[in-house]
């Protein structure tokens, strides 16, 4: 039994099956991007154990194809197992060993990146200073106690919790938060402009004059969902303060009073705080003369890190990111009128893996094929002679 299992996991057939399944998956996943958008297709096909059908997550689903994680993991096991079993040191096999060792590093690194890398954005207008970056998709409900003299106490509730329309009870708050409705993607309209019969979902703040329409999830790479929710505040000593509309589309936070303190309530992109801050000095956007073709984007920023006594100016531009304390800042975009820059902030602890893997595999392939070539031309010469 065990022997059969070992045979299966070390077989070349399994390798070929995995590779072929990988091709089919990538092909299908690429075509799916046309309708689903890159992010959704990626989640469904590549960053999953199985591809499920029908795609609607609410109903009954059956797995119809192995997903990227499963294929990658089986391939990784197959690679390692085959090499453990057959490994015999031999100079002539050097190329093959190197190639596969590099592939193991690459696959493992890829898996690691999928699990641990975090990508976020930092949007800076001229002169802005920020010590946090924002998630590109996830939002959070922030409840801020502003009554402290020079310190705000912030309690955040991630979107994944809001989605389930639950009542949230947190020890730091003198009230409970009931999620009355949640929209993954929505459009807000003033009641006066919405059609007849439109009802507000809140009765406090500006939300009482706004109608919320659910819309299909965003698929284009440059669009993001606009989540909205109706939040009821229930003081722990009984009663209700009313229902507020919170939405990513609403700008300023809303305030209310409870337990003798003033609170702010806002649904905003999830934040990742950093022990240092970045200030935008200048954003530059060059175009080729007489055209609208962008030639270069660059952001001149000041990096201030009191902990490490760093205070310096940095130029971030295309293909020249800033790497600092395990995070990398890239010039990702800009506001249409050039008034703000958008930096992509990436935390990827395994970013070095592909670099190593590339060198090792390339060396391996060169040795292997070079060896073939030499042997072939020697035979050829003998045949001619």
């Amino acid at each position: 039994m065990l022997r059969q299992l070992v045979d299966i996991f070390t077989s070349l057939k399994l390798t070929i099956i995995c590779l072929a399944a990988g091709m089919a998956l990538i092909f299908a996943g690429t075509l799916a991007q046309v309708h689903l958008g890159i992010h959704e297709a990626q989640q469904r096909y590549f960053q999953s154990m199985f591809v499920w059908w029908p795609p609607d997550t609410r109903g009954f689903q059956i797995p119809i194809f192995p997903g990227g994680h499963l294929i990658g993991a089986v391939l990784l096991v197959n690679l390692i197992a085959a090499h453990l079993k057959r490994f015999r040191w031999n100079w002539r096999k050097l190329g093959i060993h190197l190639t596969h060792a590099g592939l193991i590093i690459m696959l493992a690194g890829g898996l690691f990146t999928d699990l641990f890398a975090v990508e976020s954005h930092m949007r800076l207008s001229h002169g802005d200073t920020r010590n946090y970056s924002e998630d590109m998709r996830e939002t959070e409900l922030a409840v801020i106690d502003t009554s402290g003299d020079d310190l705000d106490q912030v309690t955040t509730i991630p979107e994944s919790v809001l989605r389930h329309n639950r009542v949230i009870d947190h020890w730091s708050l003198p009230f409970r938060i009931a999620v009355r409705s949640f929209y993954q993607n929505s459009r807000l309209k003033m009641l006066s402009q919405a059609g007849e019969g439109a009802q507000p979902i809140a009765n406090q703040g500006p939300g009482a004059m706004i109608a919320v329409e659910p819309v299909a999830r965003a698929t284009a790479a440059d669009e993001r969902d606009v989540p909205s929710a109706a939040i009821e505040i229930l003081p722990k000593d009984g009663g209700s303060l009313g229902t507020w509309l919170v939405s990513d589309a609403l700008g300023a936070p809303q305030t209310f009073a409870c337990g003798g303190r003033t609170w702010m309530l806002t649904l905003r992109p999830s934040r990742y705080y950093k022990p240092y801050s970045v200030t935008l000095q200048k954003f530059m956007h060059e175009k080729y003369a007489g055209t609208e073709i962008p030639k270069n984007f660059a952001s001149k920023v000041t990096l201030i890190d009191p902990e490490r006594s760093v205070n310096r100016d940095v130029l971030i531009y295309m293909n020249h990111p800033l790497r600092y304390r395990g995070e990398t800042f890239y010039q990702a975009g800009f506001q249409k009128d050039d008034s703000a820059t958008i930096l992509q902030v990436v935390h990827n602890p395994s970013f070095i893996a592909p670099y190593m893997a590339c060198v090792i595999v390339a060396a391996g392939l060169l040795v292997q094929f070079g060896f073939h070539l030499v042997r072939f031309s020697r035979q050829r010469r003998k045949a001619i002679a």
Binding site: L12, K13, I16, L19, A20, G22, M23, I26, F27, G29, T30, L31, Q33, V34, G37, I38, A41, Q42, F46, M106, G110, T113, E119, A221, K287, Y288, A289, G290, T291, I293, P294, K295, N296, F297, M318, N319, P321, T328, Y330, A332, Q344, V345, V346, N348, F351, P354, Y355, A357, C358, V361, A362, L365, L366, Q368, F369, H372, L373, F376, S377, R380
Partner: protein
């Protein structure tokens, strides 16, 4: 005598090319369009000769680099451009705009007939309507547009380019622009005085001011419309300007740029049909540029030469010739024809290389910067590898592959050039020569090798199934070549793909983003890995290898073109509706070849029963496989 055949063929080929390359003499009493076409201008962010502007504009609008009038007379791109720039009423009558979509024609109440070229004058009553319709389809993504919407948008873009061209050097319809400029120059100082007086609250001459104000309005419109920036930088400022803009600036500077005046004289001479004056001033301008802007001029005169030599179409012809010679070598006179093919290929490759290197010089970039140049480079790489194979095996196979791939890739490039300037400036993210030189070159070299392997497989199948010429030795050689080329493809595709990941990591922090183009590249790597492992594991033999190499053609063409047609992702440079049927056709043809190759071996003419018993060299490598084991996995 016979043994000189290869040399005779080579000499004939050289002779033909040289005849094509000799400059055509301009008669003394004719407009010297080549002199005029050499003048450098700035368009699309790049300094190029007017000749390039003419060719690219005509290509965008008309689909060809030459215009044939209804009278049968042919106009070169430069002749057409001269009319557009200086003699708009005449140019408006030329049938340059291509419209084939019946719905677009119906919009104007026209029926679809055998006529597909229309003049600007034909459309002039409908300009507003066209603009409105196009604005609607402009809101959609390229992928979402219907045929009608793409066609109307194309027409609008062509018309707008044409109108901008007409207003590039002088206001459309100007009669005597030289005199107009003289008047402008003489009235500007008076107007400046008047303006100053007005500002100070003194008495001023209103007529003088109004005169110039009307001119300024005219030149503002000219500067908004201009497509060509014709006025070069000078010591006062370091930017190129359009004629209109330069005239507006001259109000402040106090003098009109000499190039503007020269253009005016040239234009007036053209309208007056005064060839000597036209030629004399065209010469003045080129001399002026050579003196004042030596570096710019050197590059743009070279580009002018490059346009005239058309190296890629010359080598395309030679590749066809070589392919025919190589195929002929399998029928008879083998060694002579094979050598002839080899020499012709060397000549074709030399010209191809000249073209490739010229583009690199003109653009100051590594060879591959867009889809067009990838086609040029894929052909080039494949031809070199195929020639090496020919040198080693000396059986005409490498030569046939080189000819076929060289020709097909150049044809593809020719059709990709329709969108205009193939030496366009690069988007900011691509503006890095290191990655263009490594990642892009490695990936495209991988494509070359995959197509070469596929071509070898095509030869194997066609010769094996349809002819009796595939002997054991040839079959073995083909298998060896294919295997070697697949190894080569694996190396380059893998390295190229990973380098792409590293570039992505460098420029936006994501090693792998599942972008369609990345996925296409990894499909090739996976397919190569499958072929190699299947062969090492003994799951496939010679024929299996060939069938898999044929499928490699499909994978590679999907990766090269197919993913761009999806219209998503960071690499989707231009959606190409027109290429779609060709791509599908190519894929189907490859599937058909795979099906043919999967036929039982007795049906192959080269391996058929009639041939088996006579030879001791059976089993012909693709020996019948044990029952239950398919030849391919």
């Amino acid at each position: 005598m016979k043994r000189f055949l290869p040399w005779i063929i080579l000499a004939a080929a050289v002779g033909c090319i040289a005849a094509n390359w000799l400059p055509s003499k301009t008669a003394r009493d004719d407009f010297d369009f080549s002199r005029f076409g050499e003048i450098p201008v700035l368009v699309g962010g790049r300094v190029k000769p007017l000749d390039t502007v003419a060719r690219n504009s005509l290509l965008i609008i008309h689909g060809k680099q030459e215009l044939r009038l209804e009278s049968g007379k042919r106009l070169s791109a430069m002749q057409w451009l001269a009319d557009v720039l200086f003699n708009a009423p005449v140019a408006d009558q030329y049938p340059v705009f291509v419209v084939q979509n019946a719905d677009v024609l119906g919009l104007f109440g026209w029926q679809q007939s055998d006529r597909k070229y229309f003049s600007f004058a034909d459309f002039s009553p409908f300009l507003k309507q066209i603009d409105e319709q196009a604005a609607q389809s402009d809101k959609l993504e390229a992928v979402q547009r219907s045929a009608y919407q793409s066609a109307i948008l194309n027409l609008r873009n062509g018309l707008s380019l044409y109108q901008r061209l007409k207003n590039s050097i002088q206001p459309e319809g100007a009669e005597n622009f030289t005199a107009e400029l003289q008047g402008f120059a003489s009235s500007v100082p008076g107007a400046a005085t008047a303006a100053r007086q007005r500002a100070m609250g003194e008495n001023f001459d209103k007529a003088k001011l109004d005169d110039v104000a009307a001119m300024i309005q005219r030149y503002e419109r000219l500067s908004e419309m201009a497509y060509v920036l014709a006025v070069p930088p000078n010591e006062l400022d370091d930017e190129w300007h359009s004629v209109g803009n330069s005239l507006l600036r001259s109000v402040r500077i106090g003098e009109i740029h000499p190039v503007v005046i020269e253009y005016a004289v040239i234009g007036d001479a053209y309208r007056a049909n005064d060839q000597p004056l036209f030629n004399q001033h065209a010469q003045f301008v080129t001399d002026w540029f050579a003196r004042e802007q030596p570096n710019t001029t050197k590059r743009s005169s070279f580009e002018f030469l490059f346009n005239r030599l058309q190296p890629f179409s010359q080598s395309m012809t030679l590749y066809v010739l070589a392919f025919l010679l190589a195929c002929g070598s399998w029928l008879g006179w083998s060694s002579l024809l094979r050598r002839s093919a080899f020499y012709v290929l060397l000549l074709a490759l030399a010209i191809h290389t000249f073209g490739l290197v010229s583009r690199m010089y003109l653009q100051e970039r590594p060879p591959v910067t867009n889809l067009y140049s990838s086609a040029i480079f894929i052909g080039w790489g494949a031809v070199i590898v195929a020639l090496i194979l020919e040198r080693i095996f000396r059986d005409g196979i490498g030569a046939a592959c080189a000819g076929a791939i060289g020709f097909v890739t150049l044809i593809i490039a020719h059709h990709l050039a329709g969108s205009g300037d193939t030496l366009e400036m690069l988007q900011a993210v691509l503006d890095t020569n290191i990655w263009l030189a490594t990642h892009v070159v490695a990936i495209t070299t991988g494509y070359s090798a995959m197509f070469l392997a596929g071509m070898l497989a095509i030869i194997y199948v066609v010769r094996g199934v349809f002819t009796t010429s595939l002997e054991k030795q040839t079959a073995d050689s083909l298998a060896r070549m294919t295997y070697g080329v697949v190894c080569f493809a694996t190396l380059f595709s893998f390295v190229g793909t990973v380098l792409g990941g590293i570039w992505a990591d460098q420029s936006w922090g994501r090693f792998w983003g599942w972008d369609p183009k990345e996925n296409g590249a990894v499909l090739i790597v996976l397919w190569c890995a499958i072929i190699l492992h299947a062969r090492w594991g003994g799951f496939i033999r010679q024929r299996g290898l060939m069938i898999m190499a044929l499928f490699g053609n499909i994978v590679t063409s999907f990766s090269w073109f197919g993913v761009n047609m999806l219209g998503v992702g960071l690499h989707s440079y231009g959606f190409m509706q027109k290429a779609f049927p060709w791509l599908v056709g190519f894929m189907i043809s490859q599937l058909a070849l795979m099906a043919i190759a999967a036929m039982p071996l007795e049906k192959w003419r080269s391996f058929g029963p009639a041939r088996v018993p006579t030879r001791g060299d059976q089993p012909q490598i693709p020996a019948p496989l044990p029952a239950g084991q398919a030849p391919t996995h």
